[in-house]
């Protein structure tokens, strides 16, 4: 559960977020959309306490994030999984090692790692790829590895920062189905995206940020107000994704 209460963040004179209040309940699936520089990244970075808010309160799973000391940040981050557009897998580690790595970090024993990694890999649909290296996998498979890595420690929140940005429409849709499946297990999902077709088709809650403010927050489609930036939007025609995202 994530609660923003009157949160403001400025970068020198530029607005990051301004007086934002929003509640994302446990088990929600939320799309965070908006043009580049609107404040989406600020929103995510504040949840992870990569940056400090100027004012307001941020609560993640009943923990006040704004007052956390540097020592407590790692503990916060262990309850949050994160997936990036560019996967960020470690190229010199195998798939299994990439996933096991995030368990090593929280001091899980080798035995537990050996037991749980294959389980999580088959959950994301790449059970037979454990010994491959990332560059031997397709983009979609790499993103599955990244998702496996993000959820292997059972986070309560999964942040997906344009997870389909580098994927073709069909693969994007498979990844979305995987995320939905994870959401059904009770994990809160916050997904930053520009993909109109995905948002429309998923029909989940959409939070639109513009110039640091939340301008829309309801369940529904991507919204006509976001068509101003055509290069960032994948047009959706007759149920087929016609073009990859820029």
């Amino acid at each position: 559960m994530i609660i923003f209460d009157k949160v403001t963040k400025y970068y020198k004179k530029n607005v990051g977020l301004e007086n934002v209040s929003v509640t994302i309940d446990k088990g929600d699936f939320v799309f965070l959309v908006g043009s580049s520089g609107a404040g989406k990244s600020t929103f995510i970075k504040l949840i992870l306490k990569e940056i400090e808010a100027d004012s307001g309160s941020i609560r993640v799973n009943d923990t006040e994030v704004t007052t956390l000391s540097n020592r407590e940040i790692p503990i916060l981050r262990r309850s949050i999984g994160i997936v990036f557009q560019d996967f960020r897998l470690l190229p010199k580690k195998t798939v299994a090692e990439n996933v096991g790595f995030s368990m090593e970090i929280i001091h899980k024993s080798q035995r537990t790692i050996k037991r749980q990694v294959p389980q999580i890999l088959s959950l994301v649909g790449i059970g037979n790829k454990g010994n491959k290296y990332p560059d031997e996998l397709s983009a979609g498979e790499q993103q599955r590895v990244a998702i496996a890595r993000a959820i292997v420690n059972n986070p309560t929140v999964l942040i997906a920062d344009e997870p389909t940005g580098n994927l073709d429409p069909e693969t994007s849709w498979e990844i979305m189905k995987l995320l939905e499946q994870i959401n059904l297990r009770g994990t809160t999902i916050v997904m930053v995206t520009h993909a109109k077709d995905i948002v429309d088709r998923m029909n989940k809650r959409v939070i639109v940020i513009d110039k640091g403010k939340i301008v829309r927050d309801n369940v529904g489609a991507y919204g006509a107000e976001l068509y101003e930036e055509p290069c960032l939007v994948t047009p959706f025609e007759g149920g087929v994704f016609s073009k990859d995202v820029e």
Partner: protein
């Protein structure tokens, strides 16, 4: 806790091996620095020892007695010095004992003194002072007493010697501090390169919730490892060359300066401790400094 220590050590070995070229560069620069440090150390220790030895010689005011001064008179003179402040010890040395002392000091060449037909040395009183200032008083007192041939005392020499050794010690200290700073910079730059090469990994570790110490651990151990390897190499090299040098010229130096040089085993033992401490600190400081920027957020 134990898990992360084992993890750090394992990772450090992997990193040192994987970045062989970089590790070698670091090892070379620390070793070079430690070798220079070692030379200074050997020089300073030997100079100190020589100074101490000569200071001990010069702490004694030698009062040579006229040949006609009797043993009883000599005892009376000796008692006068006993009462003075700052006098640690007085000793009557007759001419035969003095000659025997010379003989033993000359060692193997002592037989040369056998050819003397009669002993040219006078009887003397040796006044050992506990502080150099007291020596002046001893000299003043001796000048007022009859039956004394000469007073031998080297205050100026001792003071000059002390000044020179002081200067050498301070300059060595300054040069050594510079060397240490340079090595820390070299090591931290080297490790910074390996950190940069792994910045993606470090970022990912932070996102997954690794503590700063967990991330720092392997790099710290890597630095320490490089420090230990460099220390051992340089101690080995120095011990080897020092033993060769003292084997070659040790005996001659002993005779010329009449002070022994510091033994190889003593030097090696001290160098192992000092170099390990310096090497490990340089490695550890270097890696902590190079990590700082990456662990800010």
């Amino acid at each position: 806790m134990l898990n992360s220590i084992i993890y750090s050590i394992k990772q450090a070995f992997i990193q040192v091996f994987r970045n062989r070229a970089m590790s070698l560069a670091s090892i070379f620069s620390i070793t070079a620095m430690l070798l220079i440090l070692g030379l200074f150390f050997i020089a300073v220790v030997n100079i100190n020892m020589a100074t101490e030895a000569s200071k001990r010689d010069y702490e004694t005011v030698q009062i040579y007695l006229l040949d006609e001064t009797t043993f009883v008179d000599a005892q009376l003179i000796k008692e006068k010095f006993d009462g003075l402040e700052g006098v640690a010890n007085t000793e009557y040395l007759n001419k035969d004992a003095a000659l025997a002392q010379w003989k033993s000091k000359w060692g193997e060449s002592g037989y040369l003194l056998d050819s003397l037909s009669n002993n040219p040395l006078p009887n003397s009183i040796l006044v050992t002072v506990s502080e150099l200032e007291a020596a002046d008083k001893v000299v003043q007192t001796a000048k007022t007493i009859n039956g004394i041939e000469d007073i031998k005392y080297y205050k100026d020499t001792v003071e000059k010697l002390l000044k020179i050794t002081n200067f050498i010690q301070i300059s060595a200290l300054i040069i050594m501090s510079f060397l240490i700073i340079v090595s820390v910079v070299v090591v931290s730059n080297t490790i910074k390169l390996t950190v940069l090469a792994r910045s993606r990994e470090i970022h990912m570790m932070k996102y997954v919730g690794a503590t700063n110490w967990f991330i720092r651990g392997p790099f710290l151990v890597e630095g320490v490892l490089i420090g230990i390897i460099s220390a051992l190499i340089s101690v080995g090299l120095i011990a080897f060359s020092y033993s060769k040098i003292s084997e070659l010229i040790g005996q001659d130096i002993f005779i010329i300066l009449s002070t022994p040089i510091v033994s190889v085993s003593f030097m090696t033992m001290n160098l192992v401790i000092i170099f390990l401490a310096v090497g490990v600190s340089i490695g550890a400081c270097g890696s902590i400094i190079s990590m700082r920027r990456f662990l800010d957020t």
